[in-house]
Symmetry: C2
Subunit: 153 residues, 2 copies
DNA sequence: CTACGTGCAAACCATTTGCGACACC
DNA sequence: GGTGTCGCAAATGGTTTGCACGTAG
């Protein structure tokens, strides 16, 4: 339950070893920057933070390692769809089934899901229009190809 | 309740007039392509479809008009964060409050939301790992700036 | 007839790739 | 010592912008 930075780095080192990933200074510094930054940082932001400690680091190295961490399940990303804009063609409110393998999206009618209820009041000044649910999973094709992978997403 | 293509085009023309947008052949063809394509098309895909009917159309025109339609509330997009990759730093399962104005994301502990229940069985062969809820709304700053806007998102 | 919309090309931004040099295991 | 990693620069993919011409209202 304790999620101190040091705890998470310790686990990170274990997971790297388990995954056969070399434990480089760059990797540790990048991972530390992610954990310490809090919120939802972009690769660019991580690059900025890491650069303070390793001025010679390359942006490409940050990108490569974030990719490695994501693939190994050491990190999660907020959105599966960051590549390209996708439009809704279904004018009704509805939910989504999202394949974390290939990014495919299937619509789920709103009635297919129990109404979503917020138990607490939203932060002051915040206006909420509607809740949207994404069921993260694997489509039949990707489930076949990737036996265990991405089960942490 | 009837969402035929012609119904939606009729509404589209009304909304354009109401918004003071010129009703050009390109705009109608782009909107029709979105409605007819179904699913979750990318601008590139719409461009491909429109090009069959207007071979001389420019990709830039497609992008510009999709933007116009989104801003006017004539279309919705699947994701608010398609520009850049964002990472999770919170290792616990949780939900999100997403500002459709500026894209800011706030975490909501999982316990802040009633458990999400799927009423039906997912499509055959689909594996679901976890549901994630996004509450779309406006943060205090954006709510102040954009009085009514984006209330359709 | 005039402001808005279009097409083209160039610019821009986020991300990936190729490759020679280097370091972990 | 050899495979995996790093840094650099160039390539790529998606999206936006500037500008001259054309057209809806």
């Amino acid at each position: 339950m304790a999620h101190t930075v040091e705890d998470r780095l310790k686990k990170f080192r274990q997971q790297c070893r388990a995954a056969g990933l070399a434990l480089t200074h760059q990797r540790e510094t990048i991972f530390r920057a992610v954990v310490e930054s809090g919120g939802h940082p972009s690769p660019e932001r991580i690059y900025g933070l890491v650069k303070r400690r390793i001025p010679a680091i390359s942006l490409a190295t940050v990108y490569k390692n974030i990719r490695v961490f994501l693939d190994a399940g050491l990190l999660r990303e907020v959105t599966v769809h960051h590549g390209t804009m996708l439009l809704e063609t279904n004018p009704e409110d509805h939910h989504h089934l999202v394949c974390v393998g290939c990014g495919a999206i299937l619509d789920l009618e709103q009635e297919a899901v129990e109404p979503v209820q917020l138990r607490r009041r939203p932060p002051a000044g915040y206006r909420i229009f509607r809740p949207r649910v994404e069921f993260l999973g694997l489509c039949p094709g990707c489930a076949r190809k990737k036996p265990e992978k991405s089960s942490h997403l």
